[in-house]
């Protein structure tokens, strides 16, 4: 079973890659796949900020099951838009 993983922003810098195909076991959740990546890319072990998860380009909970062929994205806190703050 394989999943395509996507890393963005600081995660991409820490891992040194922005995407990869990884072999995953049965019954893994999105959060499990991140722990698996922390083993494959030791730079990710130091990531200590909150994390959101997307499977096939939709936000999911950390417990969301990952299936064969899924695209799993790890989403640090987002910061799009301009550099204005809200108030």
């Amino acid at each position: 079973m394989k999943a395509r993983v996507l890393l963005f922003a600081r995660l991409k810098d820490l891992a040194g890659v922005s995407e990869a195909e990884v072999e995953i076991g049965e019954g893994l959740t999105a959060a499990d796949v991140f722990r698996l990546l922390q083993g494959l890319y030791p730079g990710l072990a130091s990531y200590d900020a909150p994390l959101a998860y997307a499977v096939n380009a939709r936000y999911v909970s950390p417990e969301h099951p990952v299936r064969d062929g899924d695209e799993v994205a790890f989403i640090p806190p987002v910061s799009g838009g301009g550099t204005c703050t809200s108030r």
Partner: protein, 141 residues
């Protein structure tokens, strides 16, 4: 509805044309612009990273939600990615409506939601270093 994630410069005149209709008396446009300082640091430039396919989906879903919440006529959401200099426009939101209050409210709501949910990130390159800015953690819903 017009949704765009692009490395090309954003043009407010074009955003107005994308939403203008003969039955809409009001157009509100928001531009998010790269500022020359942040958190007391002098900013040299920004790099925007994105998950483009998902960013487009989130932008489209929020635009649809805005069109359901307010009696507005059309919406355009454009986000630029890649290298942006100080003074350049990173986000353009345009809303047209028959009544101005709705255009203001919907545009403001959309900008707030986009900054919370669109999978887009900026790296600030300032004098003496660089840093990925981490803002809002999106939640599933």
């Amino acid at each position: 509805m017009h949704i765009e994630v692009t490395a090309e410069p954003l043009d407010p005149q074009r955003a107005v044309e994308l939403v203008r209709r003969d039955d809409a008396g009001a157009v509100v446009v928001f531009l998010g612009v790269v500022r020359d300082h942040n958190l007391g640091r002098r900013v040299l430039y920004l790099e925007y990273d994105a998950y483009p396919e998902m960013a487009r989906r989130v932008m489209r879903e929020l635009a649809e939600e805005a069109m359901g919440r307010w009696p507005i006529v059309d919406v355009a959401v454009l986000h630029r990615i890649g290298h942006l200099e100080v003074g350049e426009t990173s986000l353009l939101v345009a809303v047209s409506s028959p009544h101005r209050a709705e255009a203001f409210d919907a545009a403001h709501w959309l900008v707030d939601r986009l900054k919370e949910r669109a999978p887009i990130w900026k790296k600030e390159v300032f004098e003496g270093g660089e840093e990925w800015i981490e803002g809002e953690l999106p939640s599933p819903r």
